[in-house]
Symmetry: C2
Subunit: 282 residues, 2 copies
């Protein structure tokens, strides 16, 4: 059985940057007390576990935190939560590890709001990135899941952005629905990050050549889940795993070629380990 | 046979305004010499003929005109042509009868150009309205008829506007193609005028009830031709006429209900005459 690995694996720019920021913060701020991250710094449980062993404590609630260092994770954090932390005073040092591509999307929402556009965010409303974007929009016009036509005569100016890890096809489908409104102007921003687009394109390419796909990455990772979704939509047998321990020999029975792809928060070392395990099974 | 007339007939706001401007200009400027219009003031040969009898002379070329009054028609005129007329000095008085909805589209193109957007105009490139818009865009990105995908990596900011008399469905189809580009932002403006949208909607309504359609208006009228196109696309027998003289008895043989619609530059009186003729034939 042949094993084909996607041309792009390992951490994306934003994930690498967030991990570097976390490691440096741990190193340099130990004397300032505990070091927290607001939610997992990236969506890969194994990496988060390793950082936790180095001293990074994942928290959701900041109500009891009055001292130490708090890192905003790569997906960003809701505006009001950041304000609350700042209000706690000098006892807390705030470190921002938000991915610059996410920050770019946040800046667009902020600008659209100032210019009087109704803001639509296409994405998973439970995802921390989208929650942060929603907090900036304050009154988002509509969410992709609750899209409704406006009444006649309401000609609106709409700004549309996407979660950075969206699939462009899905995004354009939602945009198509939005364009059915009686709008006066719709501004569509391509906020899908280039790493996401590239991994999706490479996954599609492998789908043409392989009869089974292994998608490696956090089960909570939106971009990894989308790669898996693309595979399933193509009708090819596909397995989303975090580590090689989840692989089963039967996945590869009677298969000729396995494609291996990974999310933006999956370490390169993990991809290599999984490829080794697959080769052993074939 | 029943005859159903669309709920909206007669001149639209922009046409009515252009005719009023032309008539007032003829009245008030006779002493200043000849009165010209740059192309037909509206796209209805019968109305243009009537205005010509009152003293309005339609011209295409201004090279020999050095004196008198020149009216810019309801569809607007190319920027360089207007500049040329202004350069001729005080001998020529310039009167602008451009429809305010067309002017709104021109202002958008002008603003987009200043802000560094590539401009796409969806419409018939031979139509005077589109020619005027193109002259403002100077370097339009692409025309609907020559839409091509940009190379990878070229992430562009695009502004899209439509000819004011477009069909929204056609427009959104073109927008769908544009969204396939590797864009960073696409701004879509709804520059289709409300009168056009209303007449199209009312035409669709009549198509549900009628088995033959009569579309009245200038053969050179873009908005009338689009109404006719909507009828033909529905597979209902449809006839585009300028006057009742073009009607034939056989059009209505074995028909139960005839729908009558008219363009934005068709006089109400003409609609009434045609309805009378149809009733006589049935």
């Amino acid at each position: 059985m042949q094993v084909k690995v996607a041309g792009r694996t390992g951490f994306c720019f934003g994930v690498k940057r967030a991990i570097n920021i976390a490691e440096r913060t741990i190193r340099e701020n130990r004397c300032r007390g505990a070091i927290y991250s607001l939610g997992p710094i990236i969506h890969n449980p194994q990496v988060v576990e390793a950082l936790s062993k180095k001293g990074l404590c994942v928290i959701k609630d900041i109500s009891r935190v009055n001292h130490g260092t708090v890192i905003i994770c790569s997906h960003g954090a809701p505006k009001d939560l950041i304000e609350k932390i700042k209000d706690k005073g000098k006892g807390i040092k705030l470190v921002d590890a938000t991915c610059p591509f996410v920050k770019y999307a946040q800046d667009i929402v902020s600008r659209l709001k100032k210019q009087g556009y109704g803001v639509i965010i296409v994405g998973d409303k439970e995802h921390p990135e989208v929650k942060a974007l929603l907090s900036i929009a304050e009154k988002p016009l509509i969410l992709s899941s609750s899209l409704k036509k406006k009444g006649k005569g309401e000609r609106v100016r709409i700004g549309v952005i996407s979660q950075t890890t969206q699939n462009k096809e899905n995004y354009l489908k939602e945009v198509g629905d939005i364009l059915q409104y009686d709008f006066s102007e719709v501004r569509i921003f391509n906020t899908i990050c280039s790493d996401t687009s590239l991994r999706q394109a490479l996954t599609r390419r492998l789908l043409d050549e392989c009869d089974v796909m292994v998608v490696i990455g956090g089960k909570n990772s939106a971009n990894t889940r989308r790669l898996w979704q693309i595979c399933r939509d193509c009708g090819v047998d596909s397995y989303h795993i975090e580590t090689g321990a989840e692989l089963k020999k039967e996945y590869f029975e009677n298969k000729k070629c396995v494609g291996v792809v990974s999310g933006a928060s999956t370490p390169e070392a993990m991809v290599k380990k999984v490829v080794k395990s697959i080769k052993k099974m074939s």
